[in-house]
Symmetry: C2
Subunit: 305 residues, 2 copies
């Protein structure tokens, strides 16, 4: 097999109570990618989208992920990647993770599934490092494994697929720019032990609530004492978005990744669509361009088509 | 009903990765307690054990728990508590929680179950405050609810019963004294955000592992970057106890509460008993008196007999 096409889903990381470790995959939006074998042991990038992303492989997240894979496999050939991205870079719903994961899943199929998903996650994390200056896997994990994932450890890499009930997400993407690296720099280096304990309680309860299908506990657990209070200043009308969503039945929600996207969870497609309406009502008067997505939490990660 | 007798179990809190929020109940040891109605709206304490605990209700953990219950219910009568404690105070396996929880569960039966378990937990926490100077529920919760519990929040109090597979605990109690208040004072007030994130990952993975019956993940999750490295200095041969237990098949383990007891988890009674032997071998040459308990993790909290 010399050519493989994949769909790579958007994902929501942090999920309010799981900064840098929790994430889930969306059914949409997703990127379309085709990877094909080329003779030279290098990577060629072709973008069929208007995002003006760098084409030099060393500066492209899919490129660096594939380069690290080529090195690890010691290949004497390389890959061309054709990408049609629908997940806007900088939207906070795992655009870079989708590029990196899509590329390595497709290339791995060409290599006869030589690498495990955990190996692929490590390659994709090189792309995340390029994008954000930090090695993190909280978007890579759901993008590859689907569903809700927890990154127990980065070193060694340990990813846990969580049990979860049927859930829907509504995401609003205000078209403003937040650089992940800057959003990281805002955070304190140290936190109070007592606040850390409260976050342990919330994260543990969130995982338990997913397993028990306890939607009320899920909602109570989605609180964040550490990251949200600092970063919400970057997102116009964040508190209003949240209040409006909760008032029409959202289980809970908050900043997706480092923003600017904001997500809310709900129990049904109808619930997700009501939240979409409520979000639009909050944002329409702002004059800020925005997009709203409603989607089931996908059990699938990157899918070969 | 004017007299109720209960058994109140020992419990293990913190459980390595869940400082101040995670805990589980042991099947043994347990305290035996009888509570009876008395005419005066006060509390009388009778101890049938040799632990020399204070008998003034304001200085006794069962006493203060009952006094706060009497105030909340605005009773014009009181309670006498007869206690035969088998859980040694200061052992680090929830001796004070057992006294406080046993007393309030028995008194609540006399009151016709007027209060919810969550109410009872709040009363019992008054006892914990007396014992340790901190309002915490990580022993109270498993002692009342049984099984594995997570305290999501103290204010408002939110306790989550976790799903868990059959598990056994081996506990060694070296007969040395560690004051909970002092063990708390050793801890840093602040922790690095990156360490907090690693602990979120471990706690989330621990909860997921219990729900998925994934014993290997359970073991990997039982690591603690924040509390154990500081407190283990209080427990002679801590590292040897852990290594010896792991070498005979323990899933994982660490300090119980603030110590000095050390617990290890295993999958079978035979496993628990092998660990007991291994612990004894480590401690026998030290000259320090010790007791070892092996017990299934109990699904029951305080039991009315």
């Amino acid at each position: 097999m010399n050519e493989v096409s994949v769909l790579a889903p958007a994902s929501v990381s942090n999920v309010v109570c799981g900064y840098d470790c929790l994430g889930f995959a969306l059914a949409e939006p997703f990127d379309e990618m085709t990877v094909r074998k080329i003779e030279e042991p290098t990577v060629r990038i072709v973008h069929h989208d208007g995002f003006d992303l760098p084409l030099e492989p060393e500066k492209n997240v899919a490129g660096v992920a594939l380069l690290s894979m080529i090195r690890a496999a010691n290949l004497d050939f390389g890959f061309e990647v054709e990408m049609t991205k629908h997940i806007k870079p900088g939207s906070g719903i795992g655009s870079s993770a989708a590029s990196a994961c899509g590329a390595v899943v497709a290339a791995n199929r060409i290599l006869g599934e030589r690498f495990s998903k955990l190996d692929l996650a490590a390659f994709a994390m090189e792309g995340e490092f390029l994008a954000s200056g930090a090695r993190h896997a909280d978007n890579v994990a759901p993008c590859l494994f689907g569903g809700f994932t927890l990154v127990r450890s980065i070193e060694p890499l340990d990813i846990v697929s969580l049990e979860f009930p049927r859930l829907y997400a509504t995401v609003i993407h205000p078209q403003i720019e937040i650089k992940t690296a800057e959003a990281r720099a805002m955070l304190p280096k140290e936190v109070l032990l007592k606040d850390a304990v409260r976050q342990w309680g919330n994260l543990g309860a969130f995982v338990a609530a997913l397993a028990k299908c306890d939607y009320e506990l899920l909602g109570r657990s989605m609180t964040d004492l550490i990251v949200e209070p600092v970063r919400k200043a970057l997102i116009p009308r964040f508190d209003e978005l949240k209040a409006a969503s909760i008032s029409v039945g959202a289980i809970g929600g908050g900043i997706s990744g480092s923003g600017p996207s904001v997500f809310m969870l709900s129990r049904s497609p109808e619930g997700a669509s009501k939240i979409a309406d409520a979000m639009q009502e909050v944002y329409a008067p702002t004059g800020i361009d925005f997009k709203v997505y409603s989607s089931e939490i996908s059990t699938d990660g990157v899918t070969i088509i």
